[in-house]
Amino acid sequence: MTKWYIDQGPDSDVVLSCRIRLARNFAEYPYPHQSSPEIRKKVMERTVDAVMHGNSGMADQFQFIDFKKISTIDRQVLVEKHLVSKELAESKIERGAIISASENICIMMNEEDHLRIQCLGAGLQLQNLWALADPLDNLISETVRYAFDNKIGYLTCCPTNIGTAIRASAMLHLPALVMTGHMKGILESVGKLGVAVRGMFGENTEATGNIFQISNQVTLGRTENDIISGVQSLANQIIAQERSLRKELQEQNGIRLEDRIHRAYGLLANARIISTEETLQKLSDVRLGVNLGILKEPKVTELNALMLEIQAGNIQKSTGRALRPDDRGTIRADIVRGAMHGIQ
């Protein structure tokens, strides 16, 4: 089965992936940063119990990973797959994750909150992900008493997540909006609508390769469905603008656009040493070329796989050892050339 981070979903010419995340806390314990190691271990044991030994009928498809027992490289690979946050990977306390076999469900434990229930999917399909997250949340609440207040909803470590404690997000590839200088306007206008735009790896990260993450800011006072459809409809509007600008670029500036795309392809097909950032930038042009039919190959799924393979953690995982940046650069160039080889 193709993993969601490689697969193509609805609106995949613009949307790479989407995610629903719920923050939940145990009523009786202080939040992870304020808890004792014993309590943090208990949070993990009880969650594993609820999910993997509960009456879900899906117990056997989950795996528990204790972050203290895996290597830095393994943790980095999970970050690069967007399964866990950088914060969870880098924190020093007792923490872990429960991950489904197809890697479309991941529960982070002892990050900022006791639990972060996440469902992930290819393309834009937030409603489907909510339909996965909602029953899983209910399953856990059968054995775990959540910190919940009748007036202000699910209680979270940071007041910005309180209420529904839901974050609906989508990862968008917006090269035409960036190229034509419209991205700044988008950033300003979505801010007013209570939606945040960030880089590829969430909070405090840059938008490399024209990839932006949009997500709701408001979590209190609206229902989960309202929040999800809000993000969905805003994503739809951005998708429509991106598509129409792509068409315009192709019609009015065809030769320049083609030149840019083929140059990016040529660079990737011939580089001998290359950084992650440059690879992602050029892959953005190649992806646009594939979306517009200017390049016949690689396939979008191949590009998705490549975007993961060229990241530092994945390179070191596949070579089986820690590497210096220069060595990673040459291996990265080999991988990229291999993927571009024979195309055209």
């Binding site: 806390n25 009523a27 314990y29 202080p30 939040y31 940063h33 304020q34 900022e112 909510w130 909602d134 029953p135 209910n138 609440s141 059968e142 008493r145 959540y146 910190a147 919940f148 207040d149 009748n150 007036k151 202000i152 909803g153 699910y154 209680l155 470590c157 940071c158 007041p159 910005t160 309180i162 209420g163 529904t164 839901i166 209570g194 408001v218 979590t219 209190l220 006072g221 609206r222 229902t223 989960e224 469905n225």
Partner: protein, 165 residues
Amino acid sequence: MPQCQICNQREASFFITRTVNGQKSQISVCRQCAAESGMVKIDLNNLLAGLAAFTQEQDVEETAVACPKCGMTLAAFNKTGRLGCSECYHTFAEPMEHLLNRIHGHTRHSGKRPGQTAEQISMPENVMDRLKSELGDAISEEAYERAAEIRDQIRALEGSGEVKP
């Protein structure tokens, strides 16, 4: 839970350390006495805007309110933006309400509850329960205009025949 040292009746929810002329003393008080005595005056309006929000810094008197369950103080919260435990929301109820309103533009949850599916939220009985409790809040806060709006919504829902009055 210790008793309030002012009224000697209610449970204390604030543990206040005062420094008067270099002399430290501790007192446990309940929420009501704390508010009436003016001991707890917290301004979180500037919080998250990166401005110094804790207005209790005075030469003569300093007060530090700590959560009885986890020991979190507002000064610490102002630095990190993270609370220590779920009880903190009750300990710092008043400043939190202002803060939530600033962040979310709302102060009342209207999504699912533990064990409830998303579909159940929009069922007429649940909407009615929520509206009735909001009506109670609005009346106790003397927000009569909002109360009237909520009352109209309740009547409309009753009139639709979907729920029994």
